[in-house]
Structure formats: C-alpha cells, structure tokens
Symmetry: C2
Subunit: 351 residues, 2 copies
C-alpha cells in the first residue's frame, strides 16, 4: 500500500551511499547502543515529537533488525541470567502469532512462552502488550499487575494512519518498526524506546551477540525516509505536498468502508467495531482503521473459517495461531491495491 506513496513522492526520498561510508561495526561508542547511527536516532525522536505518540525525552533508543529482533532482545534483557526456571512470557488472547514462535524456537533456558496472560497464575512474568493489537486492532493495556512482573509494549501500529493518537505512550519498553510506520519492511529496521539504562544495555548486548549490530545502510536509508515524512508536515512548502499519515489513513479508510459493506452483504461474518476518538495529531475524530481485519465467521456450520476462505482463494491466518478458535481469521489490509481488490471481489461473491 505504501509503495504508491513512495513512488509518487519521487526522488526526495532517495538515499545515496558512497562506497567508503560506514565501513565500521561502530557508529557512536559514547552511546549505550553503540551501533545506532546518530542521524537515525535524531529522526526517530523528531518523528515521535511531531506525532506525539511516544515519550522519548530521557529515554534510550536501541535499534534492531526489525522489531522481531528487539522483541527477543527485550525478553532476553528482562529474564534473569541465572534462574533455575525459564521466565514465563505471556500475552492476552488474541495475541500476535509471532510471539510464541519467537519465544520458543531455540528452547531457551532463560524464557519460555506461557500463553494467554489472563490465564496466567504467578508473580514473575513478562507480559507482551500489543496496542493497537495485532490481530484485532484493539487498544490493549496490560491485564496482569504484579510488582515483579515486567511488560513489553509492542506499539508497531500506534501511528495516525491506523488509529487516533490520544496520548504519548510512556512505558518501560516500547517497540516500533519502519515496516508498519513507513512501509519499508525490506529495510528490516525497528527501534525500542527504553527507560532503564541497564535494560537498554542488555538489549544492546543481545543484538551485539545475535548480529553484531544492525545494518548501517538500513539506518541511513530509514533516516532519510523518516526525515521526508517529518519534513512533509513541518516544512509543507517542499516539492511534494503528499503527507504519509494522511495518505495512509485516507487509503485505509476507503478500504475499511469497502470491507464493511461487503462483510455486511455476505451475512456470514462480523468485524470488530472501534470507538470514535479524537486524534491529537490530526485534530480529527475518527475510529481506528487497523492494518488487519479480524473477521469472525458467524455461521454455525463453518467451523474452520481459514479453510472456508481458502477455497475462495482468500489468504488468511486462522484464529488458532492467535490463541483463539477457528471461527476467527486475520486478513491484511496493507496489501497492494490489486490484491486488496481481488480480496474484496472474492469476498463479495459470497453475498
């Protein structure tokens, strides 16, 4: 979906990297995150300040090869190195299908996936809070509350193309990524905003052990991309007047309107409803337009909604992956225009 935006934006967002630049592993040895390019760190803080979606003053920025790596870095940093039992990692259902796999694929002795946060008993845990939530778009808050419990806030979708920005988020560890904010998934770049310097150090250590830092080329490119987005709002007289969040929200609003019409016509499915909220960034009142549609099949005969839709060549991910039943499926709302049109046409054939 974002490809159209960047194609229209043209050369303004092009990055040029000479052969002799950024050869070293190091970017700034005086920084806790010693592989963070200064320009990228500055553009991250600038964009959050502009949008008002997260507090960055007196916070540490740690970068990762996508927020996937930062999730693992955060879980590593919050797990004691010498415990006899692995730390439990939980999230309220429906949770992002990637969390269990990313937690357990190496069978670590430091941490392990423990499922639905609401079903968890105990005082020691890491709760992952995804807000807006992947898959269902709801503005989640932590469901557990203990003095020894820790939280990781995955805020990949807390941007004004998806939802109203109601306040600057201010949690211990907050994860963001360019793939959801700007569309550059191939750049594999995320960042964490971290309160505690010791946690920031441990996360940095994880990334050093895992990949000895993060691509400088991705950082240089992403710094340019974020700059172009901020410039679009702060210096509106530049060549192109297109602004990313407006473009994204307009496009998503149209897609959601179309989807809701078709879903209604099928009389087979339901979609979550989102409350109207005033966005402090746009100063408009609107309901969320999540990056995913969380479809529930309301027909009793259809037990496995994913298989049912697969027969119509509609690619979805079933509820089982998200810790709930097979009545639910997740569908991407960010695909290319022609893919989204095909999805709508195929769904409409059920009406």
């Amino acid at each position: 979906m974002f490809e159209d935006f960047w194609a229209k934006k043209g050369e303004e967002a092009t990055v040029v990297i000479p052969g002799w630049q950024t050869l070293s592993y190091f970017s700034d040895v005086t920084n806790v995150c010693w592989f963070l390019e200064r320009d990228f760190g500055q553009e991250v803080r600038r964009l959050h300040k502009l949008v008002g979606n997260a507090v960055t003053e007196d916070r540490y920025i740690v970068i990762g090869t996508g927020s996937t790596q930062l999730y693992q870095a955060a879980v590593f940093a919050l797990s004691p190195p010498d415990a006899s039992e692995p730390m439990s990692v939980v999230s309220a259902v429906p949770y992002y299908s990637g969390y269990p796999m990313k937690t357990d694929y190496l069978r670590s002795g430091l941490f392990r996936w423990a499922g639905d946060a609401r079903a968890f008993k105990g005082e020691s845990y890491i709760e992952v809070v995804c807000s807006p939530n992947n898959p269902d778009g709801s503005m989640n808050k932590a469901v557990l509350n203990s003095e020894t419990g820790k939280t990781i806030h995955d805020l990949a979708y807390y941007w004004p193309q998806y939802t109203a920005i109601t306040e600057p988020a201010d949690h211990d560890i907050m994860l963001f990524t360019v793939s959801k904010s700007t569309g550059h998934a191939g750049t594999r770049l995320g960042w964490a905003i971290v309160k505690d310097p010791n946690i920031a150090k441990k996360m940095t250590k994880f990334i050093a052990m895992n990949t000895i830092g993060v691509s400088k080329d991705s950082q240089l490119r992403a710094a340019k991309i974020l700059k172009v987005i901020s410039d679009g709002y702060e210096h509106p007289n530049t060549k192109s007047s297109m602004r990313l969040f407006d473009f994204g929200r307009d496009r998503l609003a149209k897609r959601w309107e179309r989807l809701r019409e078709v879903v209604k016509a099928t009389k087979l499915f339901s979609l979550p409803e989102y409350p109207l909220e005033t966005c402090k960034f746009t100063r408009e009142k609107f309901a969320a337009y999540p990056a995913f549609a969380w479809l529930k099949c309301e027909k009793e005969e259809i037990e496995d909604c994913e298989s049912f839709l697969k027969k119509l060549k509609i690619q979805t991910r079933g509820g089982m992956h998200f810790g709930v039943d097979m009545k639910y499926v997740r569908v991407s709302m960010l695909d290319r225009e022609e893919t989204f049109k095909l999805f709508i046409e195929r769904l409409a054939s059920l009406a």
Copy 2:
C-alpha cells in the same frame, strides 16, 4: 584498512536507492532463501568463480545479517529439534572467541558449546572449522571424523588478500561475509554456501524467525560493491585500475613485514610462520598475511601477555578467550593506518 581503497575508488561504488524500492519482506518466493535479492546472489556466485575460492554450482546461497547470524542458523539447522540432550558444538583450539558465546547466550536446549574439538569424545557433534583460522591464521581442517558428525566451515578469511587460494573450497556449509572480504562490516551481510537443500531451508527458517530476513538495503549496496570488485578484474579498462585483493595484499604484506621486524627486535615474542603457497588466483607464490597477528610471549616472567601489552596501551585479546593460555594474544592487522602505526611504535618501544 579498506576505507582507503573505497575512498580512492570513488563514485563507482556508490549505491542509490529510491524511496519506493524493496519495500517488501520478500525478494524471490521461488528461491529457497526467499529474502535473497537476485542481484546479490548473482554477484556472490560471480566473485567466487572469479577468485576460485569456493564451489557455488548446484549449491544454495543463504544470506544472513553477518556471518554471526549464519553461524547460529547453521548450528540450529544441524541440531535435531527433538533430542533429549543438546547437540555438542566444538572447534579445535585456538578457536574464534565468538563461537562459545554465540552458541550459549540463550542457553538453548538444542545445542551447547563443548569446547576444544580435539578433546571431544563421542559420535554426535557439530565441528566448526575456521580456515584461515581466527586467531592464528592457520589453514585448518576438521580434526574429528565420524559418520554422524557435522561440520560448519567458516571461510570468512579465505580471500586472496589474506592467503593463497589453493583450491575451490567444497564443504557442506561454508560461511563468508562482506566484512572480511570487502571491509564493509557496517553493512552486516554474510552468505552461506550450502549443499543440502533441507539444511538451506532450515537455515532460512532460522533467519526468518530471528529477523524475518536480511536488510534489502545492505544487499543492494553489497551487490554494487561486489560488482565493482569483479569488474576491476574482468573489465580492467574501467575508470579506476585499483583492484581490491591486490590493494589488500600489498597493504597487509607491508604491515606483516614491519610487524615481523619489530617483533624480532623486541626479543620477547614470536609469531606463527606460514608456508609459501602458489595462489591459483594471482598465480604468485606467497605466505599468508592473516587479518590477525597471533603473538606468543616467549619471556617466562610475563604470564599474562594481554595485561602486559595493555600497560603499553596496546589493545589485544588474550589467549583465554580462544581456549588457550595467557601467553598468547590476538592483534588486529586491519585497523586504520594511523592505529596500526601506533601499535608498531608502541611495540618497538620494547626493543
């Protein structure tokens, strides 16, 4: 060291990436390694063919965020998912100090570091063979030999600036990285050449779980860098006649000559001797010029060589990190010219 080369090479090695390029996670869904950019894969094969240092015909290329990530991917791929005991990972001393840490930092139930390969008893293992070896530059071969044992060959330094290319390497899993071949450590890009498609698939799966692929920006840039290197040899009439491997070997030969003089003058240390070999790539006969000097302190009074040299402000890494005693230290031979000169001056002060 390579910075000088790329600065002199000039604009030929510059990469330009427009804002709309490579937004997707995917590069080529028909490829086992679905996040590998085609151009990069082609330039990798082209360079190996030119240099003659590795067989790539009928082999799979898997890319990683540096060879550090590929090492973990290979260990993961070679370890059974359901064994009751973790797989033992070994390497002959002196071994690269990164292996134990990269194997054990998550306390995986799938694999664990088991130390010196020569001391290992058993039939089931993964032996890591680094050749030329980090830290001591020797052309290592596997020391264990069992039908059920597996090997990973880390060939990061098997390039003609460091050693004579005597034959195309042809092992089950071979790891390479741009940081040692071209000097672009900040690009965080490595590749594995893999015989078995199932191993290539499992390694790809690891990288998908760990970081959902590898920076496309790094791949685009590295494709350009490798192309410029190959062009330098295959199309010698291009603007600049400088050729990377010649530049690197000349520079390293001078550094090694200077180092050997100073070491001799101190009467305190010894250095490994390397045999003269005919390089099939350059058609010249020369002894290795490794990326690291492996200094042994021959003075009985000096037990901890790292601490001894630290007092002279010489930064080294002690033998303990490599599985041997404190008489040994490793020193980088690839630093910037002024850093290397300082090292030589400080060492010469002992004479």
